[in-house]
């Protein structure tokens, strides 16, 4: 079971569910270290005072905020503690909403919530909240403080457990209004074109199976590391693939694609 990152309680009306938070993701990326080329040892970062030109120990570093007028304000750990709300160990549910109304653009990082402790009180309260969310098909919105930052979070039932995802605040999501999206009359597809595209999309339709997609990049990167380790050379393909030209006749392209898709689908049955 993954490590817990936060322990507290999920509060829902006057009901408190003691919970632990753990990441719902695992890092499978290959990580590289910066090395000094001549002696192949890791490079380390040292912190230096820009005024005195000497190294500064960790304890002698604090943070400063630069205001719009250029003036700097020192913000110490004590300052941050002073504004941390005291209900810091609670995820307070404020609303229950329909998950379908929450656009995924707001979703940030996924976590799991599990009961903190295996006593009857904690596990029953957990089951109650899970049960009621499964039954009503609602997701809960609430806030909590983790690593000195307040997060907005959405909690829902997923695969028989409570899933929590931190969310972006509305002012962190840009408006799509300024995005050029060909809304002019001339770009509007004809009925025939739209029907053709819909038929093509359905012909290329498949069930969503996340496990069907593998991280080819990670695999290739591992291969590169392996080859290099064995002293083999790495072939480098610099050739940029030629970008395709936009088609002059959309309808003709759709028809050709549709026939092609039908042909490919037919023998499989």
């Amino acid at each position: 079971m993954p490590r817990s990152l936060w322990t507290g309680s999920l509060s829902f009306g006057l009901v408190n569910v003691p919970v632990r938070l753990m990441s719902a993701t695992r890092d499978l990326d290959l990580h590289f270290r910066q090395l000094h080329e001549s002696d192949k040892v890791p490079v380390e970062t040292q912190r230096w005072c820009s005024e005195e030109g000497k190294q500064v120990p960790w304890e002698a570093i604090t943070r400063s905020y630069e205001r719009d007028d250029g003036e700097s304000v020192i913000v110490t750990d004590e300052d941050l503690e002073a504004i941390e709300p005291r209900k810091t160990k609670t995820i307070e549910i404020e609303q229950f909403v329909d998950l379908a109304d929450v656009d995924p653009i707001y979703f940030d990082h996924p976590y799991w919530l599990v009961p903190a402790g295996d006593d009857e009180g904690a596990t029953r309260a957990y089951r109650l909240l899970l049960g009621v969310m499964e039954q009503t098909d609602r997701a809960a919105l609430g806030r909590f403080v983790m690593r000195a930052k307040e997060h907005l979070a959405i909690v829902r039932a997923r695969d028989g457990a409570l899933s929590l995802t931190t969310m972006r605040f509305h002012d962190e999501v840009r408006s799509a209004k300024g995005v050029p999206s060909a809304t002019g009359k001339t770009a509007k597809p004809s009925r025939k074109e739209l029907d053709g595209a819909v038929a093509l999309i359905e012909a290329l339709g498949a069930d969503w199976k996340p496990e069907a997609y593998e991280d080819e990049y990670r695999k290739r990167l591992k291969k590169v590391v392996d080859r290099k380790r064995k002293g083999k050379t790495i072939e480098i393909d610099d050739s940029d693939a030629k970008p395709p030209e936009p088609v002059p006749d959309l309808m003709a392209a759709l028809q050709a694609a549709l026939e092609d898709a039908k042909k490919r689908k037919a023998p499989a049955r």
Partner: protein, 257 residues
């Protein structure tokens, strides 16, 4: 206002090419600080030092290494790392169209907007409208900044949005969690009351109803500190105590009426 684009290329599906530009759809609004020296308030600089020779290392003498056993590294050139990224392709080739509602949002990492280009407006609109009509999302791969991503393209308002995605092996499954079961499941009465409580808290999702109050409070605090008026700030509030489950449910519901 012109929106800055970070990539341009083509979304291709079965011979139909949609020329697009990629724009960021999100922006970090967190309060950022500079590291400073306590003694004189001067900025801290980060310097790279060789851990053996204790001398500063210029950037051009730095290489990337992958640790294969403790202290042993395989050195890799930037070009060799690039070789893994995939062809320097300017095309997002659609592999499949799947039902958009079937993709659990835990798969999504970062969102971008796709903007239309002048020479592909008709195809852009066609893809948008057809995706909207079918309720499907286009799944493909995107090479960006020397890395290949699995992506989903779907309609978002009048535009197209692109999400980079996690791979399924990067997700911790619910089965990997060890969730203890209580000796007695919640009773029907408790479930019913909890359901009533959910109803009293039911709302339509409105993102603007939630402000980042922590960020606001932090900026307010900094402002007060700059003006030497910290003593005028209000104190934060207290948490409530946990209690007996049924009693708490009853109290919550009656309190809301």
């Amino acid at each position: 206002m012109a929106l800055r684009s970070i990539w341009n290329g083509t979304v291709a599906f079965a011979g139909v090419f949609v020329t697009i530009k990629v724009h960021s759809a999100t922006e970090d609004q967190a309060v950022h600080f500079h590291e400073v020296h306590v003694d004189d308030g001067a900025r801290i600089e980060h310097k790279r030092f060789c851990s053996k020779e204790d001398k500063e290392v210029p950037y051009k003498e730095i290489v990337k290494g992958y640790e294969v056993s403790e202290g042993t590294y395989v050195l890799l050139e930037d070009d060799e790392l690039k070789a893994a990224a995939g062809q320097g392709s300017r095309v997002i080739e659609v592999e499949q169209f799947v039902c958009a509602a079937d993709i659990d949002p835990v798969m999504f990492v970062k969102t971008y907007f796709l903007g239309s280009q002048d020479d592909g407006k008709g195809a852009y609109r066609l893809l948008h409208d057809a995706l909207e009509k079918t309720g499907r999302a286009a799944i493909g791969r995107w090479v960006f900044h020397n890395r290949e991503y699995l992506v989903a393209v779907r309609p978002y308002e009048d535009a197209l949005a692109l999400h980079t995605m996690r791979f399924s092996d990067e997700l911790v499954a619910a089965d990997d969690l060890d969730i203890p079961t209580p000796s007695r499941n919640p009773s029907d009465r408790e479930l019913k009351m909890a359901g009533q409580l959910v109803e009293t808290l039911e709302a339509t999702f409105d993102p603007t109803a939630f402000e980042d109050t922590y960020r606001e409070r932090l900026l307010e605090y900094i402002e007060a500190k700059a003006k030497g008026k910290l003593d005028k700030l209000p104190r934060p509030t207290d948490a409530q105590d946990p209690g007996d489950l049924l009693a708490a449910l009853e109290a919550s519901i009656s309190g809301k009426d």
